[in-house]
Subunit: 502 residues, 2 copies
């Protein structure tokens, strides 16, 4: 644990310096039936040691709480608290295999919501009242502002609407994070001003979260690092996806629809989206801007390579290796980074104004361009919709990427009808697989079918897809969106029964 | 036809006064393969007499054009031009039975798009180049601005991006329309400022559409009135839907989430949505604001009753009777009306900022809250998504209304899985039928099922729905969103085969 003078540097508000308590004591304040709001977004900047104390407390006490966060948290909540059986309901995003299984066994209720919508629900009290907020901080300022760590997420709105706040003051997070955040709160609907941002790197708010310090009940000291991200490196097929996309961008430049600097880039969570951004490394593109949600390894690689000049997001989620590099040299990146509340990083107003290029991962896509991002064979939740809907709906280019097959070829990612709809045909501009690219903008359903099957489907499934479509055209007398409803989901049924769509 | 001095009052730009041509001559400028942009939104302010001349020309000449408009047009285009076989592709909305049938027979291609997205597609040239624009106007100003008539729609962006423009100067449209429009163009993405609007009634633009007058190739004089709207009067069940909604609003006020003035109201196109607004007439609510897309009869009834103080939209579509009343007394309404481009009336930036209450009609809803607004049994296009997605996604309250049954009870509007997805579970806050209301905000899928079946389904179908859900829970071991994929669309299959879902 650090010395007192260094700690005073972190807790700069005089009234708070005697509020330090143990995690065990803070855990006693959390009781059965409470709604607990927590900091954290994709395993970054999340509450960690009070959750572990709650897991300990669960050994001798029966209780369950609802947990509302920014997005997915690390193992302390989404694995250990879940396993301990003390979470009744979870929202608005998760990505841990343990949490996922419990959701799909009906043990934990889960509400999956657009990343930009959560704050409105909290502000109006639809989600609430929040009994306790647990917010990880790197410091508390003289005037009582909470300085978040590696994510902002929903922490501002959670802190402001919670009845009381527990701070996890984390000295393992570098002090240089202070100054990276930009906290802008849009206020009550109907009394709002326009959000005064016209560039990805604009700073429009405060450097921390202003709170009523009398609500801060306790400060728990922590030295636990964020859990590293679990992304896997690019492979041949993700590189092909990136290549197709770069070719497409070059064509857009030629058509006068993009400039050499492209437009602010958004890239979704996970390995495929990270690999696609990676593709820019060896390209001619430079002076790029990132206006995204999660800043993953590839963003920092692009900054290091001098390709990206500014990156805005709501969290930084890095692999173990890259985390050491970035957090050991944070000063270097400080002027190029902005972390915002998730309702601002994902706000439709900004996404439409800046005209983002949005790249997100699809689980499966259908022949008309509808996208499933969340459910395996219609019923089982994977992670959640996250910000993909915020971005795809309002971006200049709503791009979805996926490999054309999964499970060694037993699954086709292109299907007659997706088994769950997260993004409708109206919100999907471009689909890319390792096979090729389908630019669907302005096209009628029948025009889309042709492109999606020919350019994106795996060769093993093309004939089967064409056959479905041709018979659907026949059976519906060539209706607007030909489907055979008795057969539309049969590929998924077959998969469940025989382990293959073939 | 009017006298010369009165006509000079309408064509006030000196260079244009000798541009008057016949509709037949203008029709000769439109040739095979062209993309024609036309004014008009839900049968209001649409091009009429050049389309009729094109129908005439088709008797002796083979040609086909693509037609891009604001939304649905009157019979001159969506009936007569369609019947004449001269439309290859239609976008972005339609609602005429003739057009609909041709789309569903594969005779006309149709692209159905969010109302707020069209302008971006035209601006970037994805839709384009527009060879000719045909714009109905009530006047052309001294400085060459086109003053639209009863709708603005996509006319500004179409006029600015078309190679040449034909004006239908319509003297049957009241001159007092001038001053009602507010034309604001957001400019190129990435170089935009915030849209400077914070109240439903704010005027932020010009009174007409600024164009390069040298592009105006001809002016055709017209005296054809808009086709009246075809809405049917409220009935017992739509009155019940309105009652449920008013009760819900009262509860929201009690919970402190709404004030007595509610929030700016948006109400979708058609009879059910009109009837719901009608319900406010006998209520205690007043000082209401409307920020909508189409202003139908009910909006004017509410203005007349002193309930609505300001109404903003992109078009005015009235029944024959109400049209006489309103257009005969337009002075009376002038200060309370604003007509905007559809990308502004439906802009996510404004919808989220003002926090609209959005009320749209569903064709069918499923047990998890997904909504189908467009397709009959999955394949056949009805009208289109229109603005429902713009509003539902970003509104304070995304409400969908529908009667719980159709075809005398042979169809349940609540089904296991919708046969086409326009609005996903993430975008649907509240569902209302004559049976009752389901407030889905913040709920997990399994919590939603209970409310939707119990409160909204018709009693004849409740048991059948519960049975599906219970068996899905069993078969999926209680997964997140239990579905029986082999059966999910079987109600629609049965309907097609036996004419009943029972």
């Amino acid at each position: 644990m650090e010395g007192i003078s260094r700690m005073n540097n972190r807790i700069r508000h005089k009234l708070l310096q005697d509020k330090i308590v143990t995690a065990d004591e803070a855990a006693t304040w959390i009781t059965d039936g409470m709604l607990v709001g927590m900091s954290g977004f994709t395993r970054a900047g999340d509450a960690k040691i009070v959750p572990l104390a709650l897991v300990e407390k669960a050994k001798t006490e029966n209780f369950k709480v609802d947990v509302y966060t920014g997005a997915s948290l690390g193992p302390e909540v989404d694995q250990y608290m879940a396993q301990a059986g003390i979470i009744r309901k979870r929202a608005p995003y998760q990505g841990d295999p343990v949490m996922r299984n419990l959701i799909n066994q009906g043990e934990i209720l889960y509400t999956d919501a657009h990343v930009s919508h959560n704050a409105e629900l909290i502000r109006t009290g639809i989600v609430g009242p929040i009994d306790v907020a647990i917010i990880e901080a790197v410091a508390i300022t003289e005037d009582g502002m909470i300085i978040p760590t590696t994510s902002v997420g929903n922490s501002p709105v959670i802190a402001q609407h919670a009845k009381e706040i527990i701070i996890e003051l984390n000295t393992a997070q570098p002090a240089e994070l202070e100054g990276i955040h930009d906290i802008y709160m849009p206020g009550v609907q109907g009394k709002r001003e326009p959000i005064p941002m016209t560039n990805a790197g604009d700073r429009i708010g405060t450097s921390g979260i202003p709170v009523d310090v009398s609500k801060i009940r306790g400060i728990v000291l922590s030295e636990m690092k964020d859990a590293p991200s679990l992304i896997v490196p690019p492979d041949e097929e993700t590189a092909q996806i990136a290549d197709h996309l770069l070719t497409f961008f070059r064509q857009e430049i030629e058509a006068g629809r993009l400039t050499k600097e492209l437009a602010p880039l958004q890239s979704g969570v996970g390995s495929v989206a990270n690999a696609v951004l990676n593709g820019f490394l060896d390209s001619e593109f430079e002076n790029l801007e990132v206006y995204s949600e999660v800043l993953q390894d590839a963003v920092f690689e692009l900054i290091d390579a001098g390709k990206v000049k500014v990156a805005s997001g709501t969290s930084i989620t890095l692999s173990e290796a890259y985390g050491k590099e970035v957090y050991g040299n944070l000063k270097k990146y400080q002027s190029q980074l902005v972390l915002r509340p998730q309702e601002i990083s994902n706000h439709p107003e900004i996404i439409r104004r800046l005209g983002l290029i949005s790249i997100n991962t699809a689980l499966e896509v259908d022949i008309y361009g509808n996208v499933n991002s969340t459910h395996v064979t219609g019923s089982k939740m994977m992670n959640g919709i996250g910000g993909s809907g915020d971005f795809a709906r309002n971006a200049r280019l709503g791009i979805f990427v996926t490999k054309s097959y999964a499970k060694g070829g037993d699954i086709s990612s292109i299907v007659p009808m997706v088994s769950h709809h997260d993004h409708t045909e109206h919100d999907v501009d471009v689909i890319v697989t390792e096979q090729g690219i389908a630019d669907l903008r302005g096209l009628a359903p029948k025009e889309r079918v042709e492109l999606i099957i020919e350019n994106c489907a795996h060769p093993d499934y093309k004939e089967q897809l064409r056959d479905y479509y041709n018979r659907a055209v026949e059976a519906t007398n060539n209706a607007h969106t030909p489907h055979l409803l008795a057969e539309a989901l049969s590929w998924h049924v077959k998969l469940t029964e025989t382990k293959s769509m073939k």
